[in-house]
Symmetry: C2
Subunit: 577 residues, 2 copies
């Protein structure tokens, strides 16, 4: 026996089909329908028939074993035997996050195969694993931002219980687990929600997909759909936090914004579960309101991705200046990012052709994530180049040092720790020819504007594009990779052992730099990070008196008491005596 | 000699035409163009020619003597000799606002003719005059919400100097002056802004007009256009405050919302001028963020229109329950509105089919305007019926008493004080046949949905529709009108003399009521307002001990110490001894 429930105010008649048997559902208040089906059991396939059309997958399907277009599967939410009793995740203040994509993290690309690599992450020293979206999307492989069955783990990655097994295995090793969720749009293939209910809004015209109906008529159950989804991952899958994709595309003019509601309900759940839960938005707004406490009119989200820091660091290291990188490039920007998080805090952005952002006043470093690269910054390049494809090891070590000594919560992208040679390309597996063509054509058009020859832009639909993006773990023991891994490990150990690096206060962060000479010094409490970006050795003045070198990227670093002599493209971390 | 300046990043060539002479303009940074024209003088007509097309009116035209489609006129901003030195307006805390429409307030319908009626307003006791929008719109008459030359007073109402004369005359009599401005859309006729610059946004799809570009590329000069407009009315026309039309249709996801920017600049101007300036939004969001102080993440606007109070009061008095009135109708709603301003503070609205609003926590009564009627609530009815067309004098007196003893800032609509018999219809004067037809057809369609016979719905385009809406001052001395005027005057005197009515605190407001018996009691400090809405006399219990009657709508009111005996449909205001 199984009870089916679905919100479907649009159709006049709703039936449930289990296997090949149909049964009418009973209309309930507010557009809900229910049916008790005696012959339905865990493992059975089912769908809903709307005014005679269908069957369509359940919008809240927990499992889509045959993909987005076919039937949903009844699961037992209690079948997994958890072993993480009394689990408490490492606090966000001492977190170091490792972003990974299940499909390319291991050769097999599954939840279960990822488990075997967790010990590598423990040895590296990171504290949290962040999974790119795992909700069921169209095709076998993809980044996951085009999910359409938001309650179902992607069947190619494994079953719901196998995802639980992965989270459990993280917890067993002391690693927190974060899931990336997409609440700003649905994917273009397999999206049947509009047949059920007014999930979408016509009031807004976003650049991709249709805007979700967070503030129009009948939005109550749309808000519940996404809120319940978040609660499910945290409660039933034991995730410790969620990364919220592109919240600037959540259009909501309600007096209580969806993100406020979400945070309140997640706080309640956290209280109920007795463990912290956090929400980390990606936002293109540079708006501290997302992070400010409720007393200050904020949404009280826990931390946000800091693209300004990334862009400032990336441009200083690579000299790139196209597109949005044109707004960055000076040591001054990097220094401002290190001290204030937002470089664009109300100042004019030439690239955006408008003022952007406002000061992150009152916020701490722990409210921001810092990274040298992430899936977007790599994969949205024509050739999916990682930092290690764009700079030599000296610069890579500088980048890692600045991320891992920053006042922010550091984040690494899979393989970054050893400078993986594999790219992270944009890959898709749409079955509809139109969609398949348009995704490639769109990408060629986009990069042609940047001067790329379209013929050389990898076709996201080719299986090889996906395969090439898989990490090659065999290269890890090679000397240069192992050297970089060691550098990351040492930086992480340093971060975890030096209180000054974890205090999360922006007030205490100081910088000085010489733009033409290309050096920068970051001071955090009793620690000083000295960076030489120039092509020749130079002596960099220190302001904190007597000190000793804790860590240096090159053996030739010399401490001259009032200053430090750094070889070309090198970094040293010093401590006041 | 005159220097012309215009922001026009879209055309490649811009010329200025003065009279019949053309002169090329010089491109300046950021899409601005300038030209010095030796032969141009105050009073001359001019326009801008964009890539050979035009001439078009100046977006910042100060005067359109021949309407929206023809040339702009050079004015002298300093030609008016002000007499209001050291002017200080009455504070908002003791304000009673009088909303008027220049075109129908007097038979002549001009700024100058309005001056003759100001002494009536002084005698009535109101403190502020609020003008419905006066910015140049298409045609001779209209409500003004379809303005397109936002810097130019409507030429049919008079010259810029004549508007200054009206404001000056208000100030001479101690009356503050408020102007209604529309910053959420432009009218459909005579709107040439899009030819100059990206004033409009494609990101949003509002129900009327095009959304303005407050947050996209090049929005800086769009924000300046509206902000400078506000500053102009306050600085150059000596207005004391602005009413901001429908701010829920100002779509702005910037980290610094346009309304925050506007408030900051108005505050600066206020400091500079040495007199208070206020901003009063109309908002359909029930979002206290508009009013909260900046420390609480708010925009710190001064007060907002309170439609919830209106709807609660209107439905209780009329029994109407169609459309948005279906969300109201109980004494409970009215009591909640009196105590908390927002009836919809997060609770489900059946009409909107969603939750609406959030509590107005921390705000005072002075943050809200209360009214029994306004231009919208009258004019958006099929037949422009005022409250005096919908209820008898007993209910009218109750309505006036509750507005004028409320914790809010009371507002009257022109003629309300004497129960004017003239309707306030929706009237337009579009010259384009298509627009003229569609405005009538749209209105018929709208009201047909409410069961009106379209044939009886007045055509907004007919001159008679406008003429019928003009106040008939000749009826004022008639007994029933004079009686109602006297009631308003006595209530206003009472409000101004009793500190409890002006304290603006919501915490101190108490209500009790009996829904089936149809009575309600409002307590404010040592004052009690007892209302009998029933068709027969009844005794209403009082909780404040010994008291005396200050004012009663009927002579038969009897104070029975523990209660007050009120005849049918009557109100009494009592004071604790």
């Amino acid at each position: 026996m199984h009870t089916f429930r679905v919100w479907a105010p649009l159709p006049k008649i709703v039936e449930v089909q289990v296997g090949t048997q149909k049964q009418p559902m009973l209309a309930q208040p507010d557009g809900w329908w229910t049916a008790e089906v005696a012959a339905a059991n865990v493992g059975d396939l089912y769908g809903f028939i709307l005014d005679g059309e269908g069957p369509f997958p359940d919008p809240r399907s927990a499992s889509q074993p045959h993909g987005v277009h076919l039937l949903s599967q009844i699961t037992d939410p209690n079948s997994y035997a958890w072993t993480d009793d009394n689990w408490q995740p490492p606090p966000l203040t001492s977190a170091i996050i490792y972003e990974l994509h299940v499909g390319t993290f291991t050769p097999a690309g599954t939840f279960v195969s990822a488990i075997a690599k967790l010990d590598h992450l423990v040895a590296l020293g990171v504290t949290h694993v962040e999974l790119m979206p795992v909700a069921e999307f169209s095709g076998k492989h993809g980044w996951g931002y085009d999910g359409v069955d938001l309650y179902a783990p992607h069947h190619v990655y494994g079953t719901p219980d196998e995802l639980k097994q992965l989270v459990d295995a993280c917890h067993e090793r002391g690693l927190g687990a974060i899931l990336d969720v997409v609440y700003n749009h649905l994917g273009p293939s397999g999206n049947y929600l509009a047949k059920y209910a007014p999930y979408f809004s016509k009031r807004y015209a976003p650049t991709w997909g249709e805007a979700l109906n967070y503030d129009g008529a009948d939005c109550e159950n749309v808000r519940r759909f996404f809120c319940d989804n978040a609660l499910m991952w945290l409660r039933d899958f034991h995730f410790d936090g969620l990364r919220l994709d592109a919240v600037h595309a959540i259009y909501d003019f309600s007096a209580e914004h969806f993100l406020e509601l979400l945070k309140l309900e997640v706080q309640q759940l956290s209280f109920h579960l007795g463990r912290p839960l956090f929400l980390i938005p990606e936002s293109d707004l540079n708006d501290p309101r997302l992070l400010w406490p409720r007393e200050r009119g904020g949404f009280a989200l826990d931390a946000q991705w800091s693209d300004d820091f990334h862009h400032a660091l990336h441009t200083v290291l690579t000299g790139e200046n196209k597109g949005y990188y044109s707004d960055f490039g000076k040591l001054e920007d990097l220094a401002k990012a290190l001290q204030h998080a937002f470089v664009y805090d109300g100042k004019i952005s030439v690239h955006r052709r408008r003022r952007h952002g406002r000061p992150a006043s009152g916020l701490g470093g722990n409210h921001f994530l810092a990274y040298l690269q992430n899936h977007d910054q790599i994969g949205n390049r024509a050739h999916g180049e990682r930092s290690s494809h764009l700079m030599d090891i000296g610069k890579l070590k500088i980048g890692a040092a600045l991320v891992l000594t920053s006042p922010f919560v550091p984040m690494l992208f899979q393989g970054e720790e050893w400078g993986a040679t594999t790219p992270f390309l944009y890959f898709t597996d749409y079955q509809e020819p139109e969609l398949a063509n348009s995704v490639h054509a769109g990408r060629c058009r986009e990069f042609a504007a940047f001067g790329w020859n379209p013929a050389t832009v990898p076709n996201p639909q080719l299986p090889a594009t996906f395969e090439r993006s898989k990490l090659n773990w065999a290269e890890l023991p090679d000397a240069p990779h192992y050297q970089l891994l060691d550098w990351h490990q040492r930086l992480i150990r340093l971060r975890q052992s030096e209180p000054a690096l974890k205090d999360g206060k922006l007030e205490g962060v100081k910088t000085h730099f010489d733009e033409p000479a290309r050096w920068l010094v970051l001071e955090r409490g009793d620690l000083t990070v000295a960076v030489n970006l120039a092509n020749q050795p130079q002596s960099i003045p220190l302001r904190l008196g007597a000190h000793r070198i804790l860590l240096a990227s090159e053996p030739e670093v010399r401490d001259l008491n009032e200053c430090v002599l750094l070889p070309a493209e090198a970094v040293a971390i010093l401590k006041r005596e």
